[in-house]
C-alpha cells in the first residue's frame, strides 16, 4: 500500500534537467525525508509529488489515483482538500491574525468562519502558542510563525503534509521544537509527511530518508 508514489519522473526547466527518472514511494502515515545537495532536485521532486509541478514524463500517484494527468484546476482542488503545506518562511498571510491563518484551509474549503476558527483554536494550546491567537505574523517570532504555519498545514487533517525546509530559517533548538511538534502531530492524526531538508539532524526525525542526487533517487536509507 502506497500513499504517494513517483515513477520515473523526468522534469526539465528549459534546457536544464532537474529530475532524470526519480522514483520514490511513501506508505500511509509514513514520514519520509528527501535529502540531497543544493540543486539535486529534491524540492522539485516534492513539488511534483504535491501536484504543484507536472513532470515531462513519468507518473505521480496519490492514494492510488494518478494526479499528474489532472487539470490545473483539479490539482488545485486536490491540494486544497487533501494536502497541507509548510514552507521555509512560514508564508503566513500578514493581514490575517494567527488564528485566521490557521483556519485558512478550512475557510477555503467552505467551512463557515466561526466553525473554522473553533477548529483552529485548539492548535494554539497543542503547539505551545496559547495567547497568540490574535497576533499578526509580524508580531510573532520565527519559531512561533513556523508553528502557526504547521498548525495551518495540519488543521484540515490532510492525507499528506508536504514540508519544504520547514526549519531552514530557524535556529537549531527552535527548529528541533518545530520538528518534534510536526512529527508528533502528524503521527497523532496519521498524516503522511514528505519533508525536504538538507540538514541531517532534521531528516533524523523521519521514519525513512531518501537521497536525491543529480535528479535521481539513488540511495534509499531504511531506518
Amino acid at each position: 500500500m502506497k500513499a504517494i508514489e513517483a515513477r520515473d519522473v523526468v522534469l526539465s526547466f528549459g534546457e536544464t534537467p532537474a529530475l532524470r527518472g526519480a522514483s520514490v514511494s511513501v506508505a500511509p502515515g509514513e514520514i519520509v525525508a528527501i535529502m540531497g545537495p543544493s540543486g539535486s532536485g529534491k524540492s522539485t521532486l516534492l513539488h511534483c509529488l504535491a501536484g504543484i509541478l507536472v513532470p515531462n514524463a513519468g507518473e505521480i500517484h496519490f492514494d492510488g489515483r494518478r494526479i499528474d494527468t489532472l487539470s490545473e484546476n483539479q490539482r488545485s482542488v486536490l491540494r486544497r482538500d487533501h494536502f497541507g503545506f509548510v514552507f521555509q518562511f512560514g508564508q503566513l498571510v500578514p493581514e490575517l491574525t494567527a488564528e485566521e491563518n490557521v483556519a485558512l484551509p478550512l475557510l477555503l474549503g467552505g467551512i463557515k468562519r466561526a466553525a473554522a476558527l473553533a477548529e483552529a483554536r485548539p492548535w494554539f494550546e497543542r503547539l505551545g502558542l496559547a495567547g497568540l491567537e490574535r497576533r499578526r505574523s509580524g508580531e510573532l517570532s520565527g519559531g512561533q510563525a513556523q508553528r502557526v504555519a504547521l498548525a495551518r498545514g495540519l488543521v484540515a487533517r490532510p492525507g499528506a503534509l508536504f514540508a519544504d525546509e520547514p526549519t531552514g530559517a530557524l535556529d537549531s533548538l527552535t527548529g528541533e521544537q518545530v520538528m518534534d511538534l510536526l512529527v508528533s502531530s502528524a503521527r497523532a492524526q496519521g498524516t503522511t509527511v514528505v519533508l525536504v531538508t538538507h540538514e541531517a539532524r532534521v531528516a533524523a526525525y523521519a521514519d525513512r530518508q531518501v537521497i536525491v542526487r543529480d535528479g535521481r533517487v539513488n540511495a534509499l536509507v531504511h531506518s
Binding site: 545537495p37 508528533s184 541531517a200 539532524r201 533524523a204 526525525y205 530518508q209 537521497i211 536509507v221 531506518s223
Partner: protein, 170 residues
Amino acid sequence: MTLLGLLEREPSHGYDLKRDYDTFFSRGKPLPFGQVYSTLGRLARDGKIVIGEVEPGVGPERKRYVITERGATEVESWLTEPVEAEPNLQTVLFTKVVLALMLGRPAEEYLDIQRAAHLRRMKELTEIKRTSNLVDTMLADHGLFHLEADLHWIDTTVARLDALRAVVRG
C-alpha cells in the same frame, strides 16, 4: 577524573560515587565496584583524596572520601582545558576512502553505506531525545552534532572524489 569531580561536590562513600556515576555517566555500562575502589585507592595514593571519617555499620566499615586541595586543583584545570580538537585526517573513514580510490574500488558506495549508518544512528539518537530526560538529550545532542559533522565531510568528499582519485592515483 569523573570520580574526582564527583568528590568535589561533597565527601562521599564509594557506594554513593558509583550510584551517581551510573546515573549520569555510565550510559548503560555500570561502573564495577572494583574499579571504583581501585580508582579511589590510586587517587588517595597520589594525594588527590584522603579518607575521612569511618562509619561503623552492620557490614564492613564505610569510608568517606574527601577531595584534597591538590585534587580540587586537578579538577579545575581539567574542566578549564579544552579537549583536543582532533583533525580527523587519520580516521578509519578517511583511510577507507583513500585506500578504495588507490585500489580502484567504489569509494562512493562505501561512503553511501557509511551515510546510511550515520543516519540510522542519528535517528536512534533523535528518538532518545524525543523520549528522554534532559541529561540524555544533551548526550544525544553531542552525538548528533558529531555525526552531522561527519556527514558534511562525507558529502564534501563525495563531491571531490574525482579530484581526490586523481591525486591518490597519480
